[in-house]
Symmetry: C2
Subunit: 249 residues, 2 copies
Protein backbone atom coordinates (compact mmCIF):
# COMPACT_ATOMS: atom_id res chain seq x y z
CA UNK A 1 0.00 0.00 0.00
CA UNK A 2 1.46 3.34 -0.95
CA UNK A 3 0.57 6.46 0.91
CA UNK A 4 -0.78 9.75 -0.34
CA UNK A 5 -1.75 13.14 0.94
CA UNK A 6 -4.75 15.18 -0.13
CA UNK A 7 -5.20 18.75 1.09
CA UNK A 8 -8.94 19.20 0.95
CA UNK A 9 -11.41 22.03 1.33
CA UNK A 10 -14.58 21.29 3.31
CA UNK A 11 -16.39 24.43 2.15
CA UNK A 12 -18.02 26.91 4.50
CA UNK A 13 -19.97 24.45 6.68
CA UNK A 14 -22.98 22.93 4.96
CA UNK A 15 -22.36 19.35 3.83
CA UNK A 16 -24.23 20.17 0.60
CA UNK A 17 -21.27 22.41 -0.27
CA UNK A 18 -18.64 19.67 0.05
CA UNK A 19 -17.58 18.43 -3.40
CA UNK A 20 -17.95 14.71 -4.22
CA UNK A 21 -14.19 14.67 -4.87
CA UNK A 22 -13.50 15.60 -1.25
CA UNK A 23 -16.09 13.16 0.07
CA UNK A 24 -14.43 10.36 -1.93
CA UNK A 25 -10.97 11.22 -0.59
CA UNK A 26 -12.27 11.19 2.98
CA UNK A 27 -13.86 7.79 2.40
CA UNK A 28 -10.46 6.35 1.43
CA UNK A 29 -8.40 8.08 4.10
CA UNK A 30 -6.68 6.39 7.03
CA UNK A 31 -5.89 9.70 8.73
CA UNK A 32 -7.46 13.15 8.86
CA UNK A 33 -5.40 16.07 10.07
CA UNK A 34 -6.53 19.64 10.77
CA UNK A 35 -7.64 22.39 13.08
CA UNK A 36 -9.97 21.09 15.82
CA UNK A 37 -13.31 22.50 14.56
CA UNK A 38 -12.68 21.28 10.99
CA UNK A 39 -11.69 17.76 12.04
CA UNK A 40 -14.84 17.75 14.18
CA UNK A 41 -16.84 17.83 10.93
CA UNK A 42 -15.51 14.38 9.92
CA UNK A 43 -17.62 11.41 11.01
CA UNK A 44 -15.52 8.84 12.92
CA UNK A 45 -15.36 5.36 11.43
CA UNK A 46 -13.30 2.23 11.87
CA UNK A 47 -9.91 2.46 10.21
CA UNK A 48 -9.85 6.25 10.32
CA UNK A 49 -7.72 8.14 12.83
CA UNK A 50 -8.58 11.76 13.49
CA UNK A 51 -5.72 14.13 14.38
CA UNK A 52 -7.21 17.43 15.54
CA UNK A 53 -4.76 20.17 16.49
CA UNK A 54 -4.91 23.74 17.72
CA UNK A 55 -4.49 26.69 15.38
CA UNK A 56 -1.14 28.46 15.00
CA UNK A 57 0.56 25.07 14.58
CA UNK A 58 -0.04 24.83 10.83
CA UNK A 59 3.57 24.07 9.98
CA UNK A 60 3.94 21.24 12.51
CA UNK A 61 0.58 19.83 11.44
CA UNK A 62 1.71 19.90 7.81
CA UNK A 63 4.96 18.09 8.63
CA UNK A 64 3.04 15.46 10.59
CA UNK A 65 0.74 14.85 7.63
CA UNK A 66 3.69 14.53 5.23
CA UNK A 67 5.46 12.11 7.59
CA UNK A 68 2.40 9.89 7.78
CA UNK A 69 1.95 9.87 4.00
CA UNK A 70 5.64 9.01 3.56
CA UNK A 71 5.05 6.11 5.97
CA UNK A 72 2.31 4.75 3.70
CA UNK A 73 -0.81 6.29 5.25
CA UNK A 74 -3.59 7.87 3.21
CA UNK A 75 -3.82 11.32 4.73
CA UNK A 76 -6.38 14.08 4.20
CA UNK A 77 -5.47 17.51 5.55
CA UNK A 78 -8.73 19.40 6.00
CA UNK A 79 -9.34 23.13 5.85
CA UNK A 80 -12.65 24.93 5.85
CA UNK A 81 -13.41 26.70 2.59
CA UNK A 82 -10.73 26.15 -0.04
CA UNK A 83 -7.34 24.79 1.08
CA UNK A 84 -5.46 27.15 -1.25
CA UNK A 85 -6.99 30.39 0.06
CA UNK A 86 -5.42 31.42 3.38
CA UNK A 87 -5.50 27.81 4.51
CA UNK A 88 -3.42 24.64 4.77
CA UNK A 89 -2.11 24.10 1.22
CA UNK A 90 0.62 26.75 1.41
CA UNK A 91 1.60 25.50 4.88
CA UNK A 92 2.00 21.96 3.55
CA UNK A 93 4.16 23.15 0.64
CA UNK A 94 6.33 25.21 3.00
CA UNK A 95 6.92 22.10 5.08
CA UNK A 96 7.49 19.99 1.98
CA UNK A 97 10.06 22.40 0.56
CA UNK A 98 11.96 22.50 3.87
CA UNK A 99 11.68 18.75 4.50
CA UNK A 100 13.55 15.66 3.33
CA UNK A 101 13.94 15.14 -0.41
CA UNK A 102 11.83 11.99 -0.50
CA UNK A 103 8.73 14.00 0.41
CA UNK A 104 8.84 15.49 -3.10
CA UNK A 105 8.09 12.06 -4.55
CA UNK A 106 4.85 11.80 -2.56
CA UNK A 107 1.48 11.50 -4.26
CA UNK A 108 0.12 14.90 -3.25
CA UNK A 109 -3.11 16.52 -4.38
CA UNK A 110 -5.00 19.70 -3.53
CA UNK A 111 -8.80 19.32 -3.66
CA UNK A 112 -10.54 22.67 -4.05
CA UNK A 113 -13.52 23.80 -2.00
CA UNK A 114 -16.02 26.64 -1.75
CA UNK A 115 -14.01 29.39 -0.09
CA UNK A 116 -15.72 31.77 2.35
CA UNK A 117 -15.91 34.75 -0.02
CA UNK A 118 -17.73 32.68 -2.68
CA UNK A 119 -20.27 31.41 -0.16
CA UNK A 120 -20.78 34.89 1.30
CA UNK A 121 -21.03 36.51 -2.10
CA UNK A 122 -23.59 33.95 -3.26
CA UNK A 123 -25.75 34.46 -0.19
CA UNK A 124 -25.77 38.24 -0.58
CA UNK A 125 -26.04 38.41 -4.37
CA UNK A 126 -22.92 38.97 -6.49
CA UNK A 127 -20.65 41.61 -4.90
CA UNK A 128 -17.61 39.96 -6.55
CA UNK A 129 -19.18 40.10 -10.01
CA UNK A 130 -16.48 42.46 -11.28
CA UNK A 131 -12.71 42.63 -10.58
CA UNK A 132 -11.82 42.07 -6.92
CA UNK A 133 -9.09 41.16 -4.48
CA UNK A 134 -8.77 39.06 -1.34
CA UNK A 135 -6.65 40.18 1.60
CA UNK A 136 -5.92 38.28 4.79
CA UNK A 137 -6.19 40.89 7.54
CA UNK A 138 -4.18 38.82 9.98
CA UNK A 139 -0.78 40.32 10.67
CA UNK A 140 0.62 37.14 12.20
CA UNK A 141 2.64 36.50 9.07
CA UNK A 142 3.13 39.91 7.52
CA UNK A 143 3.69 43.43 8.77
CA UNK A 144 0.60 45.55 9.33
CA UNK A 145 2.06 48.27 7.13
CA UNK A 146 1.80 45.88 4.18
CA UNK A 147 -1.86 45.25 4.94
CA UNK A 148 -2.53 49.00 4.91
CA UNK A 149 -0.58 49.49 1.71
CA UNK A 150 -2.60 46.77 -0.03
CA UNK A 151 -5.89 48.21 1.18
CA UNK A 152 -4.98 51.63 -0.23
CA UNK A 153 -3.94 50.20 -3.59
CA UNK A 154 -7.04 48.01 -3.73
CA UNK A 155 -9.27 51.05 -3.29
CA UNK A 156 -7.25 52.94 -5.89
CA UNK A 157 -7.77 50.03 -8.31
CA UNK A 158 -11.49 50.12 -7.43
CA UNK A 159 -11.57 46.43 -6.60
CA UNK A 160 -14.27 44.95 -4.44
CA UNK A 161 -12.29 43.68 -1.45
CA UNK A 162 -12.82 40.43 0.44
CA UNK A 163 -11.25 40.52 3.89
CA UNK A 164 -10.42 37.20 5.53
CA UNK A 165 -9.67 36.93 9.25
CA UNK A 166 -10.81 40.49 9.86
CA UNK A 167 -10.63 40.26 13.61
CA UNK A 168 -9.14 38.15 16.33
CA UNK A 169 -8.66 38.52 20.05
CA UNK A 170 -4.92 38.81 19.53
CA UNK A 171 -5.24 42.00 17.46
CA UNK A 172 -8.55 43.75 18.14
CA UNK A 173 -7.39 47.12 16.79
CA UNK A 174 -6.33 46.13 13.27
CA UNK A 175 -9.79 45.89 11.76
CA UNK A 176 -10.80 49.28 13.22
CA UNK A 177 -7.77 50.83 11.54
CA UNK A 178 -8.62 49.08 8.29
CA UNK A 179 -12.16 50.48 8.31
CA UNK A 180 -10.84 54.00 8.97
CA UNK A 181 -8.38 53.65 6.12
CA UNK A 182 -11.07 52.36 3.75
CA UNK A 183 -13.37 55.28 4.61
CA UNK A 184 -10.58 57.80 4.01
CA UNK A 185 -9.36 56.18 0.81
CA UNK A 186 -12.71 55.56 -0.85
CA UNK A 187 -14.31 58.93 -0.16
CA UNK A 188 -17.77 57.45 -0.59
CA UNK A 189 -20.24 55.36 1.35
CA UNK A 190 -20.09 52.06 -0.52
CA UNK A 191 -21.84 49.03 0.98
CA UNK A 192 -20.05 46.55 3.22
CA UNK A 193 -21.15 42.95 3.72
CA UNK A 194 -20.48 41.16 7.00
CA UNK A 195 -21.12 37.47 6.41
CA UNK A 196 -20.75 35.25 9.44
CA UNK A 197 -20.66 31.44 9.39
CA UNK A 198 -22.43 31.24 6.04
CA UNK A 199 -24.35 27.99 5.43
CA UNK A 200 -24.22 26.99 9.11
CA UNK A 201 -26.98 27.31 11.72
CA UNK A 202 -25.14 30.39 13.04
CA UNK A 203 -25.25 32.19 9.70
CA UNK A 204 -25.79 35.95 9.96
CA UNK A 205 -25.57 38.47 7.14
CA UNK A 206 -25.52 42.22 7.50
CA UNK A 207 -25.07 44.93 4.87
CA UNK A 208 -24.24 48.45 6.07
CA UNK A 209 -22.81 51.58 4.46
CA UNK A 210 -19.08 51.89 5.06
CA UNK A 211 -19.71 54.93 7.29
CA UNK A 212 -21.68 52.73 9.67
CA UNK A 213 -19.38 49.69 9.66
CA UNK A 214 -17.89 49.02 13.09
CA UNK A 215 -15.28 46.47 14.20
CA UNK A 216 -17.70 44.58 16.45
CA UNK A 217 -19.71 43.53 13.37
CA UNK A 218 -16.99 40.96 12.60
CA UNK A 219 -15.51 38.09 14.52
CA UNK A 220 -13.23 35.18 13.64
CA UNK A 221 -16.00 33.44 11.70
CA UNK A 222 -16.81 36.47 9.54
CA UNK A 223 -15.70 37.30 6.04
CA UNK A 224 -16.13 40.96 5.09
CA UNK A 225 -16.69 42.18 1.54
CA UNK A 226 -16.19 45.89 0.86
CA UNK A 227 -17.92 46.89 -2.34
CA UNK A 228 -16.21 48.72 -5.18
CA UNK A 229 -17.43 52.20 -6.12
CA UNK A 230 -19.96 50.51 -8.43
CA UNK A 231 -21.42 47.94 -6.02
CA UNK A 232 -25.19 48.36 -5.74
CA UNK A 233 -28.05 47.34 -3.50
CA UNK A 234 -31.41 46.19 -4.85
CA UNK A 235 -33.94 46.81 -2.10
CA UNK A 236 -36.83 44.40 -1.73
CA UNK A 237 -38.91 42.78 0.97
CA UNK A 238 -36.61 40.69 3.11
CA UNK A 239 -32.88 40.73 2.52
CA UNK A 240 -31.67 43.16 -0.16
CA UNK A 241 -29.49 41.98 -3.03
CA UNK A 242 -25.89 43.23 -3.11
CA UNK A 243 -24.13 43.07 -6.45
CA UNK A 244 -21.45 44.62 -8.60
CA UNK A 245 -22.43 45.10 -12.25
CA UNK A 246 -20.25 43.58 -14.94
CA UNK A 247 -19.60 46.90 -16.67
CA UNK A 248 -17.32 49.71 -15.58
CA UNK A 249 -17.27 53.13 -17.27
CA UNK B 1 -46.65 25.56 -7.73
CA UNK B 2 -44.53 28.63 -7.20
CA UNK B 3 -41.51 29.31 -9.31
CA UNK B 4 -37.95 30.01 -8.32
CA UNK B 5 -34.65 30.80 -9.90
CA UNK B 6 -31.27 29.41 -8.88
CA UNK B 7 -28.06 30.76 -10.42
CA UNK B 8 -25.73 27.82 -10.12
CA UNK B 9 -22.04 27.15 -10.63
CA UNK B 10 -21.12 23.88 -12.34
CA UNK B 11 -17.44 24.10 -11.40
CA UNK B 12 -14.61 23.75 -13.92
CA UNK B 13 -15.81 20.60 -15.69
CA UNK B 14 -15.41 17.42 -13.65
CA UNK B 15 -18.71 16.21 -12.20
CA UNK B 16 -16.86 15.39 -8.96
CA UNK B 17 -16.46 19.15 -8.52
CA UNK B 18 -20.19 19.94 -8.70
CA UNK B 19 -21.59 20.55 -5.21
CA UNK B 20 -24.51 18.40 -4.00
CA UNK B 21 -26.47 21.64 -3.57
CA UNK B 22 -26.26 22.33 -7.29
CA UNK B 23 -27.06 18.71 -8.18
CA UNK B 24 -30.19 18.90 -6.00
CA UNK B 25 -31.35 22.13 -7.63
CA UNK B 26 -30.89 20.65 -11.10
CA UNK B 27 -32.92 17.60 -10.06
CA UNK B 28 -35.87 19.85 -9.15
CA UNK B 29 -35.62 22.21 -12.11
CA UNK B 30 -38.13 22.49 -14.94
CA UNK B 31 -35.82 24.69 -17.03
CA UNK B 32 -32.10 25.13 -17.44
CA UNK B 33 -30.75 28.27 -19.05
CA UNK B 34 -27.18 29.09 -20.06
CA UNK B 35 -24.40 29.32 -22.58
CA UNK B 36 -24.41 26.38 -25.02
CA UNK B 37 -21.39 24.41 -23.70
CA UNK B 38 -22.56 24.70 -20.09
CA UNK B 39 -26.13 23.59 -20.81
CA UNK B 40 -24.61 20.68 -22.75
CA UNK B 41 -23.31 19.37 -19.41
CA UNK B 42 -26.88 18.83 -18.12
CA UNK B 43 -28.38 15.38 -18.78
CA UNK B 44 -31.76 15.64 -20.53
CA UNK B 45 -34.72 14.13 -18.69
CA UNK B 46 -38.48 14.21 -18.93
CA UNK B 47 -39.96 17.38 -17.50
CA UNK B 48 -36.79 19.37 -18.03
CA UNK B 49 -36.44 21.90 -20.83
CA UNK B 50 -32.96 22.98 -21.82
CA UNK B 51 -32.48 26.52 -23.13
CA UNK B 52 -28.96 26.86 -24.52
CA UNK B 53 -27.99 30.25 -25.90
CA UNK B 54 -24.96 31.86 -27.46
CA UNK B 55 -22.53 33.97 -25.48
CA UNK B 56 -22.77 37.78 -25.47
CA UNK B 57 -26.50 37.50 -24.82
CA UNK B 58 -26.18 37.28 -21.04
CA UNK B 59 -28.67 40.04 -20.33
CA UNK B 60 -31.42 38.61 -22.56
CA UNK B 61 -30.78 35.13 -21.15
CA UNK B 62 -31.11 36.53 -17.63
CA UNK B 63 -34.40 38.26 -18.43
CA UNK B 64 -35.75 35.08 -20.00
CA UNK B 65 -34.88 33.11 -16.85
CA UNK B 66 -36.56 35.69 -14.61
CA UNK B 67 -39.67 35.70 -16.80
CA UNK B 68 -39.96 31.92 -16.59
CA UNK B 69 -39.53 31.92 -12.81
CA UNK B 70 -42.18 34.65 -12.50
CA UNK B 71 -44.47 32.41 -14.55
CA UNK B 72 -44.05 29.60 -12.00
CA UNK B 73 -41.18 27.61 -13.52
CA UNK B 74 -38.26 26.27 -11.49
CA UNK B 75 -35.31 27.71 -13.35
CA UNK B 76 -31.61 27.01 -12.98
CA UNK B 77 -29.24 29.41 -14.72
CA UNK B 78 -25.96 27.58 -15.17
CA UNK B 79 -22.45 29.00 -15.37
CA UNK B 80 -19.19 27.14 -15.35
CA UNK B 81 -17.10 27.76 -12.26
CA UNK B 82 -18.81 30.02 -9.75
CA UNK B 83 -21.80 32.07 -10.93
CA UNK B 84 -20.66 35.13 -8.96
CA UNK B 85 -17.18 35.37 -10.51
CA UNK B 86 -17.32 36.89 -14.00
CA UNK B 87 -20.42 34.83 -14.74
CA UNK B 88 -24.21 34.94 -14.79
CA UNK B 89 -25.16 36.13 -11.28
CA UNK B 90 -24.36 39.80 -11.90
CA UNK B 91 -26.12 39.63 -15.28
CA UNK B 92 -29.28 38.28 -13.62
CA UNK B 93 -29.22 41.02 -10.99
CA UNK B 94 -28.73 43.69 -13.67
CA UNK B 95 -31.82 42.36 -15.44
CA UNK B 96 -33.74 42.08 -12.18
CA UNK B 97 -32.95 45.67 -11.17
CA UNK B 98 -34.05 46.98 -14.57
CA UNK B 99 -37.12 44.75 -14.76
CA UNK B 100 -40.68 44.84 -13.40
CA UNK B 101 -41.09 45.31 -9.65
CA UNK B 102 -42.65 41.88 -9.11
CA UNK B 103 -39.37 40.19 -10.09
CA UNK B 104 -37.97 41.42 -6.75
CA UNK B 105 -40.38 39.16 -4.91
CA UNK B 106 -39.03 36.06 -6.66
CA UNK B 107 -37.43 33.22 -4.74
CA UNK B 108 -33.89 33.73 -6.03
CA UNK B 109 -30.74 31.95 -4.90
CA UNK B 110 -27.11 31.90 -5.95
CA UNK B 111 -25.43 28.49 -5.57
CA UNK B 112 -21.65 28.79 -5.41
CA UNK B 113 -19.24 26.64 -7.37
CA UNK B 114 -15.53 25.95 -7.79
CA UNK B 115 -14.35 28.91 -9.83
CA UNK B 116 -11.56 28.45 -12.40
CA UNK B 117 -8.80 30.06 -10.35
CA UNK B 118 -9.44 27.73 -7.40
CA UNK B 119 -9.33 24.65 -9.62
CA UNK B 120 -6.20 25.88 -11.39
CA UNK B 121 -4.50 26.85 -8.17
CA UNK B 122 -5.26 23.46 -6.60
CA UNK B 123 -3.88 21.59 -9.57
CA UNK B 124 -0.63 23.58 -9.60
CA UNK B 125 -0.13 23.81 -5.82
CA UNK B 126 -1.16 26.97 -3.97
CA UNK B 127 -0.21 30.09 -5.93
CA UNK B 128 -3.11 31.99 -4.30
CA UNK B 129 -1.98 31.10 -0.78
CA UNK B 130 -1.31 34.74 0.06
CA UNK B 131 -3.17 37.96 -0.86
CA UNK B 132 -4.31 38.05 -4.48
CA UNK B 133 -6.66 39.64 -6.98
CA UNK B 134 -8.82 38.50 -9.88
CA UNK B 135 -9.14 40.57 -13.05
CA UNK B 136 -11.32 39.87 -16.06
CA UNK B 137 -9.13 40.72 -19.02
CA UNK B 138 -12.08 41.10 -21.36
CA UNK B 139 -12.64 44.69 -22.37
CA UNK B 140 -16.14 44.07 -23.69
CA UNK B 141 -17.58 45.77 -20.64
CA UNK B 142 -14.83 48.12 -19.49
CA UNK B 143 -12.20 50.30 -21.12
CA UNK B 144 -8.83 48.70 -21.71
CA UNK B 145 -7.15 51.60 -19.89
CA UNK B 146 -8.88 50.45 -16.70
CA UNK B 147 -7.54 46.92 -17.17
CA UNK B 148 -4.00 48.29 -17.49
CA UNK B 149 -4.43 50.56 -14.48
CA UNK B 150 -5.59 47.61 -12.36
CA UNK B 151 -2.71 45.42 -13.51
CA UNK B 152 -0.20 48.12 -12.53
CA UNK B 153 -1.75 48.60 -9.10
CA UNK B 154 -1.98 44.85 -8.55
CA UNK B 155 1.75 44.48 -9.17
CA UNK B 156 2.44 47.46 -6.91
CA UNK B 157 0.39 45.74 -4.17
CA UNK B 158 2.36 42.54 -4.84
CA UNK B 159 -0.78 40.49 -5.28
CA UNK B 160 -0.75 37.19 -7.10
CA UNK B 161 -3.03 37.92 -10.06
CA UNK B 162 -5.62 35.59 -11.56
CA UNK B 163 -6.57 36.61 -15.09
CA UNK B 164 -9.92 35.43 -16.41
CA UNK B 165 -10.76 35.54 -20.12
CA UNK B 166 -7.17 36.35 -21.06
CA UNK B 167 -7.68 35.99 -24.76
CA UNK B 168 -10.40 35.86 -27.34
CA UNK B 169 -10.56 36.08 -31.09
CA UNK B 170 -12.23 39.46 -30.81
CA UNK B 171 -9.21 41.04 -29.07
CA UNK B 172 -6.04 39.08 -29.71
CA UNK B 173 -3.74 41.98 -28.80
CA UNK B 174 -4.95 42.72 -25.27
CA UNK B 175 -3.24 39.82 -23.55
CA UNK B 176 0.08 40.56 -25.28
CA UNK B 177 -0.09 44.11 -23.96
CA UNK B 178 -0.95 42.81 -20.49
CA UNK B 179 2.10 40.53 -20.47
CA UNK B 180 4.35 43.41 -21.57
CA UNK B 181 2.94 45.61 -18.85
CA UNK B 182 3.40 42.91 -16.20
CA UNK B 183 7.03 42.38 -17.23
CA UNK B 184 7.74 46.12 -17.04
CA UNK B 185 5.91 46.63 -13.77
CA UNK B 186 7.23 43.64 -11.87
CA UNK B 187 10.89 43.96 -12.79
CA UNK B 188 11.49 40.30 -12.02
CA UNK B 189 10.90 36.91 -13.58
CA UNK B 190 8.14 35.52 -11.40
CA UNK B 191 6.38 32.32 -12.48
CA UNK B 192 3.20 32.33 -14.54
CA UNK B 193 0.69 29.48 -14.61
CA UNK B 194 -1.37 28.79 -17.71
CA UNK B 195 -4.14 26.39 -16.71
CA UNK B 196 -6.39 25.23 -19.51
CA UNK B 197 -9.67 23.35 -19.08
CA UNK B 198 -8.73 22.11 -15.61
CA UNK B 199 -10.43 18.85 -14.56
CA UNK B 200 -11.56 18.05 -18.12
CA UNK B 201 -9.99 15.62 -20.60
CA UNK B 202 -8.42 18.66 -22.33
CA UNK B 203 -6.64 19.80 -19.19
CA UNK B 204 -3.18 21.26 -19.80
CA UNK B 205 -0.98 23.05 -17.27
CA UNK B 206 2.15 25.00 -18.02
CA UNK B 207 4.36 27.05 -15.73
CA UNK B 208 6.84 29.46 -17.32
CA UNK B 209 8.85 32.45 -16.14
CA UNK B 210 7.12 35.74 -16.98
CA UNK B 211 9.90 36.53 -19.47
CA UNK B 212 8.93 33.47 -21.49
CA UNK B 213 5.15 33.86 -21.31
CA UNK B 214 3.59 34.42 -24.72
CA UNK B 215 0.01 35.20 -25.71
CA UNK B 216 -0.46 31.95 -27.60
CA UNK B 217 -0.13 30.01 -24.32
CA UNK B 218 -3.70 31.07 -23.45
CA UNK B 219 -7.03 30.64 -25.15
CA UNK B 220 -10.62 31.16 -24.10
CA UNK B 221 -10.55 28.11 -21.83
CA UNK B 222 -7.42 29.19 -19.96
CA UNK B 223 -7.10 30.96 -16.63
CA UNK B 224 -3.72 32.57 -16.04
CA UNK B 225 -2.17 33.10 -12.62
CA UNK B 226 0.75 35.50 -12.35
CA UNK B 227 2.70 34.88 -9.17
CA UNK B 228 3.52 37.58 -6.66
CA UNK B 229 7.18 38.44 -6.01
CA UNK B 230 7.19 35.67 -3.39
CA UNK B 231 5.66 32.85 -5.44
CA UNK B 232 7.97 29.84 -5.55
CA UNK B 233 8.46 26.65 -7.50
CA UNK B 234 9.34 23.34 -5.85
CA UNK B 235 11.05 21.23 -8.51
CA UNK B 236 10.50 17.48 -8.45
CA UNK B 237 10.07 14.61 -10.85
CA UNK B 238 6.96 15.25 -12.89
CA UNK B 239 5.05 18.49 -12.51
CA UNK B 240 6.63 21.06 -10.19
CA UNK B 241 4.65 22.61 -7.34
CA UNK B 242 3.82 26.30 -7.58
CA UNK B 243 2.95 28.06 -4.35
CA UNK B 244 2.98 31.37 -2.53
CA UNK B 245 4.11 31.15 1.10
CA UNK B 246 1.84 32.50 3.80
CA UNK B 247 4.43 34.93 5.15
CA UNK B 248 5.55 38.22 3.64
CA UNK B 249 8.50 40.21 4.96
Amino acid sequence: MSGWIAIAGLGPGDEALVTPEVTAALAEATDVVGYIPYVARIAPREGLTLHPSDNRVERQRAAHALEMAAAGRRVVVVSSGDPGIFAMAAAVFEALEAGPDDWRALDIRVLPGITAMLAASARAGAPLGHDFCAINLSDNLKPWALVERRLRLAVEADFAIALYNPRSKARPEGFARALDLLRDASGDDRPVLFARAVSTPEEALRIVPLSQATPDMADMRTVVIIGSSLTRIIPREGAPILYTPRSAP
